[in-house]
Symmetry: C2
Subunit: 401 residues, 2 copies
Amino acid sequence: MLGRLPGHQRDAALAEMADALERRSAEILRDNALDVEAAKRARTAPALIDRLLLDEDRVRDMAVGIRAVAALPDPVGEVDGGRTLPNGLQIVRRRVPLGVVAVIYEGRPNVTADATALCLKSGNAVVLRGSRLATRSNLIIAEVLTGALLEAGVPRWSVALLGADREEMRRLVQMEGALDLVIPRGGEELKSFLKEHARVPVIYAASGNNHVYVDAGADPEMAVKVVVNAKVQRPGVCNAAETLLVHRDAAPGILPAVVERLTASGVELRVDRAGLDILGEQAEGLAEVTDHDYATEFLDLIMAVRVVDSLPQALEHIARYGSGHSEAIVTSSLASSREFQAGVDAAVVYVNASTRFTDGGEFGMGAEIGISTQKLHARGPIGLSELTTYTYHVTGDGHLR
Amino acid sequence: MLGRLPGHQRDAALAEMADALERRSAEILRDNALDVEAAKRARTAPALIDRLLLDEDRVRDMAVGIRAVAALPDPVGEVDGGRTLPNGLQIVRRRVPLGVVAVIYEGRPNVTADATALCLKSGNAVVLRGSRLATRSNLIIAEVLTGALLEAGVPRWSVALLGADREEMRRLVQMEGALDLVIPRGGEELKSFLKEHARVPVIYAASGNNHVYVDAGADPEMAVKVVVNAKVQRPGVCNAAETLLVHRDAAPGILPAVVERLTASGVELRVDRAGLDILGEQAEGLAEVTDHDYATEFLDLIMAVRVVDSLPQALEHIARYGSGHSEAIVTSSLASSREFQAGVDAAVVYVNASTRFTDGGEFGMGAEIGISTQKLHARGPIGLSELTTYTYHVTGDGHLR
């Protein structure tokens, strides 16, 4: 078990890995260029090629990321509970590695390094299964990492890179007993595949159909800033907001300014009838929103807008369309903030803050391997602690029941 | 959401449920008698009929159990983490109910009451799916409980009892989005069914192929007592021990006494060659152990015995045959105790204590709905806290990223 290696040895291996990536940057870039060339020849979409492409900065970022993981506190062996029973039996609940974690991902070769670092730090062996697009890049990165592990005295089997074969992936996710967890970092197609085939536990990383609700009496300036930040700061990620809900009483004071700012930032708005009425002339050229829009995670500079009659109506809307990721209220009412946090069932519920903070780094948890919207085991950022389980160590002096 | 009912209201509903069970005991016994009669006519095994049978004491025990659950601290709303970030954003991690939990169980009608109490206390709605054998018993108990809930102002949909139809169960465990967790309390057949059909998360309650390892230099008297207690005190349950491993140096001083005590308690022993040699004449009539025995959870007065050369060999044996439930070492060496706890991957690892302590009640967690041998979400006793998830409540004053 990798988790039995002392923390300083796992950290030394991580340091070695980071150094080796920088030292062998030229080899990595050379093989990555072959992947990129092949992808271009195959007329792969430019966005995918951008994800695939490495340069010196991106390789250095991988190394920096690994060093940051090494610097985090060791999650293995942490005592997170326990008690001494009236009979004197001492119970200590100690965090231990899960065992073997598989990470299935798409075209970003840097995930090969990130996932390896997080799993190694948390004492888990890792099985990597990347995209066919990045075959050569992943191979060379895995080779560099494995070489570094061996240098540091960590067993070779701690990292395994699979080919991009679908049948092999099916076998992988059915390896009960040999594999403890699968973390997919991919789209809906991969999810359905796993729902159908996986017999090993899976933590589904999130889609985020997130809302910002602006309450009656909210500070208009704060409301506009939070909405714009949640939508515009990085629209292609799962913690961006997709729908704005505005209380009827707040709408006249807030909608015109929000629409102006969002439009100026290049956001396409889809607004409900009540909102269009409030906007008057400003509504010209704006589309009317549909139920389909409410249900869509745009991941783009598009935002749905709905005027609601009350906070409970906003809660209903979120319960119906939200994906349980990140939901925000802007309010100056303490009662509203309590009602919203109690009434929304999501990984993260914000009061007067942008949904964009849902992130392991922002949360002070260090690097993360994804955001979970499921309720079991890990909810929200999946950091080091979420890559462990616990065991009860119970000590007595001959205790009998 | 049931979890939004304040704790005192959920507790009042539990009190009402307990009272109603006692008040309507005669009705429950009448319908249970019909189930028992039908089971006898169908020539059901006596052990199953004993599980099915209720009497006044057993009904009273259900009520007592519900009151004990009501008296536990409320797991809903417990803050189990959080921090204030350098930017002033306040993060509070708060425990919230999972939502809807399904419990699938076999012939014991008392599970209908126990499972309902644990789910209600933890703010979850519960879907109950019992055995066909107990149809009438479960119906009347569910009716009594539901009546009590309504009295206490808790919505009727908080408890649903399904029929014992297999197709209905298949539909149930595929209700993604509507159902948050399935807890099976049944045998291997039910497990395979769920592995094949479930699309909703499942926590598999345990089988326990548990070991007691007696180290070189262990106190012989303590060793004998722990082994006998772990095997004999209640052999039919998952935390009983199935195999005794004895260090070669300890075997001559311990095996004869253990065999004598176990045989006197009616235990059938299956011993390896080395053990039989040590036992000499005492070995007469004892069977030689097989690999199949090592792999079997007897749940009966049968025990496998193996002499091992070393603690690492004991660890290897446990890694190969153990089910990750409860494992114990008897030792007087601090180094051995540390090596054993670090080297065994199980829900509970004991030093100088009987495996029989693996139990929510014994652990001071209150009632439990089962023991988990899986690593995700819940490991060991599944108590109230394990029936919740968490949400991050984040509060700022207009924080932007």
